[in-house]
């Protein structure tokens, strides 16, 4: 009896690991596919959805994604920002997700994250070159942050509900 329970638990865990791995791969591939479009990405949308669907499991997806990014594109200064920037989004979604939220809310949250992305990523430059380097780097990227913010807002507004409904239909309402 105990053996069969352990077997079922093992299968469930294996299925969970495969699912998280596939989700991380999807993040990475979608980011690469949209790379020619400046600061238009589906990563924010997917991280919001993964956080709502998997809770702490989403952190494992983020670890895989960030490691893959570094391994493929190189462990440069931007990668240090990647170590915390997606965790900040995870934390914001986790805290905000305690209550029922509308699609507009998640679109706005993704938009605010996109607008803040440059600022959040500028902290390694504070350590590397001081406050002027950090602010200069951030100010130079503001047009791209604006594109990032509005693209996130539009993408989440359009795709959040269909993807969330699809997930719930396939997996049931409670998957954490």
């Amino acid at each position: 009896m105990k053996g069969s329970e352990r077997g079922v638990s093992g299968v469930r865990r294996a299925r969970e690991i495969v699912r998280l791995g596939l989700c991380a791969a999807l993040l990475f591939v979608l980011k690469a596919a949209l790379a020619p479009l400046p600061n238009i990405e589906a990563v924010t949308l997917l991280v919001i959805l993964y956080t709502l669907w998997f809770g702490r499991g989403a952190l494992l997806i983020l670890c895989l994604f960030v490691t893959l990014e570094g391994a493929v594109y190189g462990f440069h200064l931007w990668w240090i920002a990647y170590l915390y920037v997606w965790a900040v989004l995870w934390l914001a979604v986790t805290l905000a997700g305690r209550r029922e939220r509308s699609t507009l809310f998640w679109a706005a949250l993704g938009g605010i994250f996109g607008l803040s992305f440059g600022f959040l990523c500028s902290f390694p430059y504070l350590a590397a070159g001081g406050i002027h380097t950090m602010l200069g780097w951030w100010a130079a990227g503001i047009p791209f942050d604006l594109i990032h913010g509005f693209a996130n807002f539009a993408l989440i507004l359009v795709l959040f509900s269909p993807l969330d409904s699809l997930w719930k239909r396939v997996n049931g309402p409670k998957t954490k």
């Binding site: 440069h76 029922e100 507009l104 605010i112 002027h132 100010a139 130079a140 503001i142 942050d145 509005f150």
Partner: protein, 133 residues
């Protein structure tokens, strides 16, 4: 419950728009437009060994890159953040190689943008400085 969700959505959307407007304003303040007409500026280059060159330039150019190219040879490429300088007068400082880069200063202050987006003002002093990473 749905009413609360809708209200928090509208509040967040409003916050998003306010933040976008503030960032646009910050960008405009950080980069004021260059005035039209003739400007006399000083362009300096500080190389890896600490030696420096200074040039007095009269220019009608709007941005540093255009003004500096009257006396300097700038090599680089257009990137997402504007023209990134990899070499000044043949002296290389390519940040992609992880050792050094060409920092730009305007009136002694670390510049807020790339050479092709940095406006020049009459009496201003601009410097390309070799800095190790």
């Amino acid at each position: 419950m749905k009413h609360t969700a809708r209200r928090s959505g509208l509040t967040a959307a409003l916050l998003f728009i306010v933040l976008a407007v503030l960032m646009l304003a910050a960008r405009c303040c950080a980069l004021p437009a260059a005035p039209a007409g003739e400007k006399r500026i000083t362009v300096s280059v500080t190389y890896a060994d600490g030696t420096a060159e200074h040039f007095e330039v009269s220019t009608r150019a709007d941005c540093l890159k255009e003004a500096a190219e009257a006396v300097l040879t700038l090599e680089g490429e257009e990137t997402a953040h504007g023209f990134t300088v990899y070499a000044v007068n043949g002296a290389e400082a390519d940040f992609r190689k992880g050792e050094a880069y060409w920092a730009i200063y305007a009136d002694g202050v670390y510049a807020q943008s790339s050479a092709d987006r940095l406006p020049v003002f009459d009496g201003g002093s601009y410097a390309f400085v070799y800095e190790r990473l």
